[in-house]
Chain length 458, copies 2
């Protein structure tokens, strides 16, 4: 937990911005795996963490902009709890530790419904079914309509507050990066022919739990990297394949890291792999040099796409004018996703608020073209934003087949040549970047990324 | 997945037993951590796994006892899914692999509501809020009332079917035991003074993911073992403390293991620790010799309590007649939980059905006395039941203080002596046991348990 002044200041800032009404901030409850008492690792809601800092289940925060009062609802523990779960501070003491004076038993939340109905209420769209049921009960709004009636005003304010990271937050992200570094180095060392993907994925997940709160998202670790978010770990690594690892950790305070590396199983790239690898590496390095306050990430995404298209043209996989090819989205056959996303308390920061509200604004609108449409973050960069830089090149047989059949972008794609790559897989290289006053800083120790650095590890 | 004949046979057996009506078996959906698309490891519902075997989210099974038809509802993947998540077999092919001929798109489930309302429907109490909302919509029963209107008939049938384990199931449990063995051996070797609990807990969680589907329940690993289910891993191990590790794995098919060991940080027991340890070890070993078909686990629990009370009397911590002490529940100051529980597809097998329906029956009723009231499983043992054997002794300061103040069982407890143990912590020793034709078999390689075996590891 940060010092309580930080949470007090955040809540006061929110109260000032929202002006009037009542802000409801539900904490998360435990999430059952296969029966009520067998739960996943508890993950507190990020908005609750940001404003109230308390990392335990069963709490609910209310910020009243009219009265100026904050209240935490929650229940103290019983003797039975002490025997099974240990002693815990009282809700009163917990609340005091983050500067909240008022506490009430959880059931009082339901008695405050009448009060709530007289006021403008603000809440973020709930993403857990438990909180949908709870908000339905408190607000009287049907669960399926809660998203519609969530507060755009609150969303805009929270995005504004959480986009630029505090010094303390950046320090936490760097802790998560340190754990991420260990995870990736271990994966690289383990990537020998004959090893099961699951063996490596499990081991690095263990490193994430040993060093913090576990992984920041489900680990992608596969020799079938042509699938962008492949969570299948059932294959045995084969010599000649490329292993993609897209994985990150959470610090104990739930700040994220998110890195991708791609290495040849057994340590040696073939020339064909190296040619593609170097294009992705160039796109990644170019991106880092372009990032600075005032640039839009959409324009940098398109520059990275040009580096990719240009490299693929040199290899004879694409043809025609590179600029025109990117304008037509031809690169997206190979680079069908966005260059990156914001990162903070969530690995896709604030994605529960709605991606479009985090990544776009009145100035920069999303582009509705296959590939770039997946860019999660396009707007103008500001100092202390943290974003990922993750270009990639993939050969997705089903997509190639479809485009060839439908003659999509066939003035820019050399399909006959592309077919030599159907069993290639994919390559993605991802760093976490802090936008500084004048440019960009790669967060954490950069994980080995040049072919030489990778070769030394095997 | 097992062979499809197994699933066909199970569904036919269920259909025969239920006789008429429609059985609803919702599969689980993904469970979000901090925003909708950032999900925990997928855990399929155990009843769905038992009857339909398919381990992917977004499926719903219906077993129609009137028509004799089984149907799986689910959606095929799109090109977008292929790009992001990879190719997958069609729902039709998946269903065929477990012997189900009829499949329908998921949305058809809502069109079948009318049909459902004309029939007696059976469902298990839902434990995930997503499935509560879904069943509310399909059945028309309000979410908060679903548990009340769940089917006792279906619960009784499923308990009957799932209690004795098939040969194939036992083989899966043994795989989970193998992973559990590695977890515990690693923890024992890491338990040096100065190491963080989190470091060890995370590492063994990684072993569970590397060897199967992860941990079967949240790992308990603490030098404060007086708290029975202590999930706090924030302490640095200190010389002289006892580290309790209660942890198990799931096999890739989600069968569980569940073991507890307690070892001295740094490897050497003090005489005081050894005296208590040997009582718990004796209770554990005695239990294994008593387990056989026809015995009730309630009676064995009480025998283990007698071993404990008798040992504590020898040390001067208890006094008076041992038999009488146990009858009065005096042992529960030190052994406040049950001797064990069923284990299978769930670590507390079928706990979502309601513990009382799994652990008790018309013959053996739960005992409403502090300590024994927590015994999850009391009924008569049968061949091929799998149960845990987990006696323990703890010194819980808050409980000791309460009992002394209220003079609870003070004819059997030597409180002045007990106070020398307030900083002792706790000891628990747990094996997984298969009830055989004539007795008991410890599943897996037994994890080192004698003081000599433990000493050799450090």
């Amino acid at each position: 937990m940060f010092e309580k002044q930080i949470y007090i200041a955040r809540r006061n800032r929110l109260r000032d911005k929202v002006g009037s009404g009542v802000v409801l901030i539900p904490g998360n409850t435990e999430s059952p795996m296969n029966y009520p008492d067998n739960t996943y690792h508890f993950r507190q809601d990020s908005t609750f963490l940001y404003l109230f800092g308390l990392d335990i289940p069963g709490l609910f925060g209310i910020i009243d902009a009219d009265s100026g009062n904050d209240t935490i609802f929650g229940d103290d523990i019983t003797m039975e709890d002490i025997i099974w779960m240990g002693t815990k501070p009282s809700v009163k003491d917990l609340a005091a530790s983050v500067g909240v004076k008022n506490t009430l038993p959880f059931k009082e939340l339901f008695n405050s419904s009448a009060h709530l109905k007289d006021n403008r209420i603000h809440f973020i769209p709930p993403y857990r079914a438990e909180n949908k049921l709870l908000l339905q009960e408190i607000t009287g709004i049907q669960a399926s309509l809660l998203s519609t009636y969530s507060s755009m005003e609150l969303i805009r304010i929270m995005v504004e507050m959480r986009s630029a990271k505090d010094r303390e937050e950046i320090a936490e992200i760097e802790k998560a990066c340190e754990t991420g570094f260990k995870m990736h180095l271990t994966a690289m060392k383990m990537a020998k022919p004959g090893v099961m993907e699951q063996e490596i994925a499990g081991t690095i997940e263990g490193i994430a739990h040993a060093g913090g709160s576990g992984t920041s998202f489900p680990t992608i670790l596969t020799q079938n990297g042509q699938t962008l978010h492949n969570h299948d770990h059932s294959f045995k690594l084969e010599k000649g394949r490329l292993m993609i690892v897209d994985a990150g950790a959470e610090s104990n305070m739930h700040y994220a890291s998110d890195f991708t590396r791609t290495i040849p199983v057994g340590g040696q790239f073939t020339q064909k792999q190296l040619d593609i690898y170097n294009i992705v590496l160039k796109a990644n390095n170019t991106t880092t040099t372009l990032i600075k306050p005032g640039e839009t990430y959409l324009s940098i995404h398109l520059k990275a796409a040009e580096v990719i298209a240009s490299g693929l043209k040199e290899l004879g996989l694409m043809k025609g004018d590179v600029h025109e090819a990117v304008a037509n989205g031809a690169h997206a056959l190979f680079f069908p996703h966005g260059l990156g996303h914001m990162m903070g308390l969530d690995v896709h920061d604030m994605e529960d608020y709605g991606q479009i509200h985090v990544g776009y604004d009145d100035e920069i609108h999303p582009i509705n073209q296959f590939g770039t449409a997946y860019l999660r973050f396009g707007r103008r960069l500001q100092k202390d934003f943290v974003i990922t830089n993750e270009p990639g090149i993939y050969f997705i047989p089903a997509l190639i087949e479809q485009w060839e059949k439908e003659k999509t972008n066939n003035t820019f794609i050399n399909f006959s040549k592309v077919k030599d790559y159907l069993d290639f897989g994919g390559i993605r290289l991802e760093d976490d970047i802090l936008v500084t006053e004048t440019g960009a800083r790669i967060l954490g120790n950069r994980i080995p990324i040049t072919p030489d650095e990778i070769g030394l590890l095997q």
